[in-house]
Symmetry: C2
Amino acid sequence: MIDFRPIFLVLGLLLSTLGVGMLLPALVDAASGNPDWRVFLASAAVSLFIGIALILTNRFGSSEINVRQAFLLTTLSWVVTAAFGALPFMFSDLGLTYTDAFFESMSGVTTTGSTVIVGLDDAPPGILLWRSLLQWMGGIGIIVMAVAVLPMLQVGGMQLFRMESADSSEKILPRAAQFAGAIGFLYLGLTIICAAALWIAGMSPFEGLAHAMTTIATGGFSTSDQSIGHFDNAAIDYILVLFMIVGSLPFVLYLHVLRGHHRPLWHDSQVHWFLIIALGSVIGIALWRWNTGDEAFSDAFRYTSFNVVSIMTGTGYSTADYNQWGGIAIPAFFFLMFVGGCAGSTSCGVKIFRLQVLYAAINVQMHHLLQPHGVFIPRYNKKPIPDPVISSVMSFFFLFAVCYAGLALGLGALGLDFITATSGAATVIANVGPALGDVIGPAGTFADLPSSAKWLLSFGMLLGRLELFTVLVLFSPSFWRG
Amino acid sequence: MIDFRPIFLVLGLLLSTLGVGMLLPALVDAASGNPDWRVFLASAAVSLFIGIALILTNRFGSSEINVRQAFLLTTLSWVVTAAFGALPFMFSDLGLTYTDAFFESMSGVTTTGSTVIVGLDDAPPGILLWRSLLQWMGGIGIIVMAVAVLPMLQVGGMQLFRMESADSSEKILPRAAQFAGAIGFLYLGLTIICAAALWIAGMSPFEGLAHAMTTIATGGFSTSDQSIGHFDNAAIDYILVLFMIVGSLPFVLYLHVLRGHHRPLWHDSQVHWFLIIALGSVIGIALWRWNTGDEAFSDAFRYTSFNVVSIMTGTGYSTADYNQWGGIAIPAFFFLMFVGGCAGSTSCGVKIFRLQVLYAAINVQMHHLLQPHGVFIPRYNKKPIPDPVISSVMSFFFLFAVCYAGLALGLGALGLDFITATSGAATVIANVGPALGDVIGPAGTFADLPSSAKWLLSFGMLLGRLELFTVLVLFSPSFWRG
């Protein structure tokens, strides 16, 4: 039997935090004279009431949790946050159904950025702030998970990032709390710097803050239906490119920088690979666009770099309908969705370190084919990769392919056309945001999809965000057999 | 330095066989009064001349080859056969360019079945027979490779099928020759049975033979532009379904059946998985079509079973434009392309045994997550899978994904639209034949693609047919460093 008390305790803490968070949009709406402040206040009351009740009834449980509890807690954290985070969307002026509200909320906390809301430019500031806040909280949440929880659970090769000092799963909760404190200040600081830069470049303070929160979280919710294209400002574009990249590198390395150690950041092979793939894709596609179109190179580079970085990091802003770029651009955007950023960042996808591990394994295979009796050792960051990490990463990759195919087939069965189904599955499992094609591409919206598709897509976001295994293990009979 | 003499000797034998093979369409064209018999005779003369010259000049080399030579020989066998097999296409009435002729020939010997020829119904019998012969020879060729060569080269987990009696790569050539003899009679016998059945069901003897050869080879070249839809005959459809399945099971197991041992065939887990995936897909899509359309169930079942089995086994016949089926059908056909048949058959794709190994590995991962200190062993056919086989299979899967993405990106760069590029890459790397969409779907043709795309697609066919590593290893600098 699983002891639910420590799980409920943490969920209670999360819900209380969420409730307090809802007071911010309530204040903003009240200040701007929008009646929606009552909606946020009521949602805050519900969340706080249930949150505090959970804390009070479960406060005497153990603070140590086992592996099973950790899996359940991780998945439930995201599901419960999304479920309660949806309340303001449902009761506000927007009048969304609960399906739409849950989709929007899940898209927020998983930092995906797909939206069902049309008319953002005229939406009340409270709702806009709430969307940004959900992504911002989802972003810090996933960093804490990726650094303090997943490596101990040995999910998908994340044990590669296990710290020497803590290798017992019983200490998950204390460690997570300790790490969250340290990283929280950093995260807040980066957000403020980004917001200030955006304000100087021409956004209003509110727009700057809203976008800074969704940029550092590589989330991609915007305050305009046209996303960043609305601002049509090169400085804003390049500031966002910089901070989308900042959001996709391992945050632990920034802590080293703060302590004066720059070396770990600049010598990390994951960072190198990320930058090489991003730069290579940007230059390749920019040259192709320059060559085939009639744009100046500076424009081709600006639009390409923004949209490529946005898709690859899984942010999901857009400044152009790259769907119309044709040629190599569309398959390139499709495959870049899967790449993602670094482990321990706010971005999703297969992730750079897994591509490195898989590349090292293939390299060893090639050498082994030519010298069957030779001994070759795959390496990551110059250190040998332990065998269990390799098989864990490889299993992740295959599972990713299977889940992706399952989502795409499911979306097809629900009536979506080929490009919508295949790119929609990609965009949710990699937490990107927009997909390809006319329906849910950068110029489209998820609003018109059938409800069943929205639930499936929401599940896909959760699956991708929690590295598949964390969610799927709950569906294995042996999980519940104990 | 690589000793090319044994390689050239085998290539000489292959070219001579090809030359002799060209005499068959020459006879058929001569008998039907078509002047193309001269083209076949001339092509035969060229092939025989070069083939015999290679044999004579290299006959004193060693009959033992090392690993490097085996890789080179395998790849060159397919390239040289395709290059010379293209001659009749180029010089015949069809007047194809060498690009088109090479594409058609490579599509033949790799048993892919994509075609650039329009007007098959009026084409001379010699050309039709030659297309079938290329696929038929490609089919037996790949079985011999898969059983006698690839397991020893340890390509992509094929070492799982290594026979106990022979584990030294030096004996590759004698073993291949010995095995080819045994399997050749079986292959011929199955072809004759299939041809007779098709003739009884209503095809002309020529059509029956032509289709029997491309069915057992899971190749898919037809004698009509409308493929099997031309005959509109349920008996023919079901006979072909049966023999496409026969072509996709491990041929070694048939040898056991001939010796009176039925058990290995019926108890092979690869065979079970293949049948379950095929049957599951057919029933699922047939029910969906029956439910959403206005067909009788028997019709829905007939068209679905034929086209699903054709795509999954990589045969590539069609009796309907499934491109118009919409909904789940199109993504289902897309993912089924990748599945393929069993190892040691004429079919291609990722192959069933690899999916089994990957599934077993994921299953072990799941158990390991819940019990980090437990010991779990992945199994195939009830036997533990050695670790090197697992990593070999997993590397293959990742490499397959990378090569697929590379091909799709390349096709996009050459100007193909999204569905043509992504499904075209899938259909060549899995040796299927038709792709999806209007251009190269079941109702389209590859004729209108740019030449550069045809060369890239031809390379993709070769890559897929020879299990990726066999070809790619030649591009590694350490291969040539010695």
